[in-house]
């Protein structure tokens, strides 16, 4: 399952990887130290593989190929390597990888970095450690098994002799690369950092303003661009007058970027760019443009009528995606039948740092500095935009000021590259918040219909559910109207309840905006619908919601949905390695209930809500306590989240992810809604697209990590989000007796 460790020659090390790094390019092309921290790698004397170099002074350089958007992953993967290397973390420096196929996928998406690269990092570190130990044993002329590595040194136990890694680097470089099968990984009891964690490598820089993001990229001769784009997706330029724009002091010129044609993919949208000396002049110039647009086919998009259509579609029979037993038969025999329709709106990502990129076109090549989750997609997208080969695009990855999926879609980098090619200078693009919110790849809107039959004891015996949403596929293939396997496997076909008659369906919806993935993707709406509906059933049955939930989950078993669903994607992983284990789901549910004091929380105005959901192979349960204040507004004094993500590699950063998901989920539940009129997005900034603030966010989020060292490590960036909005809504029901079935709560005047 892991990527094999590839031997790389010293030449390859220096020229292949590091000459493309900041310092060397800085000498040749641009003073790049202003953009990324200069990395002094010229003296790296030894590199056992593409991930690591050791200098003669003992400093260790580790290549980090994941984008840092707040999860700590840029630190955590090198930390794993350093652990196996027995390196002293204080002597480790990181080098951010440029986009290159040699790292495997660099796309930091889908909460997959640890599970995809845990073994690779360990093997890389262990390989280097073995070569250092071999070199020392040879130098001392003693048997290998008398030598061991410890804290940046190799030690000969009998004689007490020691050699530091720096002293050994040159000799280690001459050792043959040990075969993977001979590599000895550490025992968990020997871990220095794994399971204990280290702070983010960038912590100090983030507290002192030195951290460099895409928005901060700078070259001395760069120009700033502000682009006026068609307000409706697919709109085209009719006419424009730039005379006044050009009269603004500091404006140099205007440039037309051709309008994108469907399918839009990651293409630059097109528009008119105002090129200026600085950000302010560019934005003032843009305001003075007079532009007429041809709106195109998406001008029919009105979210209120679209919503009505989605709901109507959800209420009619649709394509079956999972089927067990006979739902109609089950409903006939039921003592009680419940029906409900849920709705969720479009959402914008709104990362704190809007999209930004700096690109320079020179001699048929592009070099870009940008906040991207996926430098390889930058290479492909930019290459296509300016007509060159992907390998002729060098993409430097800065820190990302949040991303949540937005920054794996590099349309903004293509804009900078296209403009640089046209104006012959480095071009900086920095989107405003309004551009960010109006030209997003939106999290999809959905309608979900549910119908269930309960037997006389209240147990669900039949369950029908239909979802309808414009799928992500529509962005890449204009005709796509149904959810794909991935979307269907995010909380829809994988409903875990033990119901003998079960049917899941999915209906078609046409997109009028670019649809994209947002933190936890289709799980957001599917978990909202399913986890609220089971709560409805519990109340209809007159049972405690957690007890009812656990009873409905049924006996401990491994789910594969075979014979019921065509394909369960399981986040691209085999079920034998990453099973859907209901015992683990039960466990997190029980822990969340117990640690939150579920059983004795309820008072007249204070109430608790529960939800549990598996996503990105992790099991997460949330108990949310709400409090309706004297003004009738919802407050969230406390959230308890229980997590089973297998072994926990960097515990404090994992906790931080779930604390953050608690707030992100609160924004989804209370505030998030994008609407459109005549195809134009109505919102533009935090005044009309609010996100949770300090006084609105949960006061306390308690994260309970269940150590599960027998399992494989799974995702942590996204799985905290799905249970939050249903748990909040279920708590609001407990507090008010009112069942709301639409996100967000703001529309109910409860916020």
């Amino acid at each position: 399952m892991s990527n094999r460790i590839q031997p790389a020659s010293r030449r390859d090390f220096l020229t292949g990887l590091f000459s493309a790094g900041a310092l060397i390019l800085g000498a040749r092309l641009v003073p790049a130290e202003q953009i990324t921290a200069a990395s002094d790698v010229k003296d790296a004397t030894w590199n056992p593989n593409i991930w690591i170099g050791i200098n003669s002074d003992g400093s260790v350089l580790i290549v980090t190929h994941r984008a840092e958007m707040g999860t700590g992953i840029r630190t955590t993967l090198p930390m794993i390597l350093a652990d196996e290397l027995e390196a002293d973390w204080a002597r480790v420096r990181l080098q951010q990888a440029i986009g290159s196929d040699k790292y495997g996928s660099e796309d930091t998406d889908g909460s997959c970095s640890i599970r995809d690269f845990y073994d690779t990092m360990r093997e890389a570190g262990a390989t280097a450690r073995a070569m250092l130990v071999n070199a020392a044993a040879a130098q001392w002329n003693v048997p290998l098994d008398e030598c061991g590595a410890h804290n940046h040194e190799v030690l000969h136990k009998k004689s007490g002799r020691k050699l530091g890694y720096g002293e050994l680097a040159a000799a280690a470089a001459k050792q043959p690369m040990p075969h993977n099968s001979t590599i000895q990984l550490k025992k968990p009891s020997e871990f220095r950092y794994i399971g204990k964690g280290v702070p983010s490598y960038d912590l100090k820089d983030m507290c002192t303003g030195r951290a460099v993001y895409g928005f901060d990229a700078h070259l001395p001769d760069m120009v700033y661009a502000a682009i006026e784009r068609a307000p409706v997706l697919g709109g085209t330029l009719k006419s424009f007058d730039d005379a006044q724009a050009k009269s603004v002091k500091g404006v140099q010129q205007t440039v037309v970027i051709e309008s994108a044609k469907p399918p839009y993919g990651f293409q630059a949208l097109g528009g008119i760019a105002v090129i200026a000396d600085n950000t302010w002049a560019a934005s003032q110039g843009r305001k003075k443009l007079k532009v007429e647009w041809e709106s195109g086919a998406n001008a029919i998009f009105q979210t209120d009528t679209y919503k009505r259509d989605l709901i109507q579609t959800a209420q009619k029979p649709q394509k079956v995606v999972r089927k067990a037993g006979d739902v109609e038969q089950g409903l006939k025999g039921a003592a009680k039948v419940l029906e409900a329709t849920y709705y969720t709106p479009l959402l914008a990502h709104a990362p704190m740092e809007p999209p930004a990129a700096l690109a320079i076109w020179r001699d048929g090549k592009v070099e870009a500095w940008t906040a991207t989750q996926s430098p390889q997609d930058v290479q492909k997208t930019v290459a296509q935009a300016v007509g060159i080969k992907p390998e002729d695009v060098i993409c430097h990855v800065t820190l990302l000021g949040g991303a949540f999926g937005r920054k794996s879609k590099p349309d903004y980098v293509a804009e900078a590259a296209i403009l640089s090619k046209k104006v012959g200078k480095p071009v900086k693009i920095a989107w405003t918040r309004e551009e960010d919110i109006r030209f997003d790849f939106y999290h999809s809107t959905s309608a979900m219909y549910f119908k269930a039959g309960l037997d006389a004891s209240g147990k669900p015996v039949s369950w029908l559910q239909r979802s309808v949403f414009p799928p992500i596929g529509s962005t890449f293939d204009g005709k796509s109207e149904y959810g794909d396997d991935g979307e269907m496997s995010m909380g829809w076909i994988d409903v875990p309840f033990d119901v003998p008659n079960f049917r899941a369906e999915n209906g078609p919806a046409k997109a009028h905006v670019r649809i994209g993935w947002l933190r936890s993707v289709a799980n957001v709406y599917h978990a909202f619908g399913v986890q609220c509906f089971i709560d409805e059933l519990a109340h209809a049955a007159g049972k405690d919601p957690v007890e009812y939930w656990l009873e409905s989950l049924g006996p401990a078993r491994k789910l594969d949905f075979k014979g019921q669903a065509e394909k369960f994607a399981n986040y691209g992983k085999p079920l034998n390695e990453y099973p859907y284990d209901t015992a683990r789901l039960r466990r997190v549910a029980e822990v969340a209930a117990e640690r939150s004091g579920w059983a004795n929380k309820r008072t007249a105005k204070r109430a608790v809500g529960f939800a549990a959901h598996r996503s990105f192979l992790s099991y997460v349960a949330a108990v949310v306590e709400v409090d309706i204040d004297s003004g009738g507004k919802v407050r969230i004094p406390r959230v308890d989240i229980a997590v089973d993500c297998g072994p926990v590699i960097n515990p404090d950063r994992v906790k931080a992810q779930f604390e953050g998901a608690s707030v992100f989920g609160t924004s989804v539940a209370l505030f998030g809604e994008i609407t459109a009129s005549d195809g134009r997005i109505d919102q533009g900034n935090f005044n009309n697209y609010p996100v949770a603030r300090l006084n609105e966010a949960p006061l306390e989020t308690h994260v309970h990590l269940i150590a599960n060292d027998d399992a494989l490590p799974t995702g942590t960036g996204e799985p905290g989000v799905p249970p939050m909005s249903p748990a909040i809504y279920n708590a609001v029901f407990a507090a008010t007796g009112k069942r709301f079935r639409e996100l967000p709560l703001r529309k109910q005047k409860l916020v």
Binding site: Y213, K249, N278, T279, W280, P354, A697
Partner: protein
């Protein structure tokens, strides 16, 4: 011509007086620690001190800062060791870090005004600063530690 001090150094600006201070700091001085998040005074990412008070530099025109002393995150302390910065590190507040310059400048201004802020004071002072990563709980805790009202991290 507008004359002002930024982090103790005399600076001059000739140009559109309407231009927000944020762009002078970022584009002209290349002090990029102060961030853009909304341009409308809604998020606090651009917070700096003007004559010791926290202001949103995205809404402060250059014409309003003539003769004033501006402090940005880069000038808050010589070695990144302001009590607020130390507490931020100790609690490991930042996730992506993008909002944190503004959060730290806001918190530092609060502590200057109210050395021992209550929970309500913290809420009132810090709710204008958005953190999309959701680090609010640790921000509350770090402000308590920076103000000496709490020593260690609670589990």
């Amino acid at each position: 011509m507008i004359q002002l001090k930024v982090n103790g150094a005399a600076k001059q600006y000739e140009g559109d007086g309407e231009m927000p201070l944020l762009w002078f700091i970022r584009d002209h001085l290349q002090l990029t620690g102060s961030k853009f998040g909304c341009g409308m005074g809604l998020c606090g990412a651009c917070t700096v001190h003007v004559n010791g008070e926290a202001v949103r530099s995205c809404l402060t025109p250059m014409s309003a800062v003539g003769g004033k002393e501006v402090t940005t995150i880069e000038g808050l302390s010589a070695h990144g060791d302001h009590p607020v910065q130390k507490a931020w590190e100790h609690v490991q507040v930042p996730q992506c870090g993008y909002c944190q310059s503004g959060q730290i400048m806001q918190a530092a201004a609060l502590l200057k005004q109210k050395p021992k802020p209550t929970d309500r004071d913290i809420e009132a002072a810090m709710s204008g600063n958005i953190c999309r990563c959701g680090t609010y709980q640790r921000i509350r805790e770090a402000v308590k530690i920076a103000s000496g009202q709490k020593r260690t991290v609670t589990a």
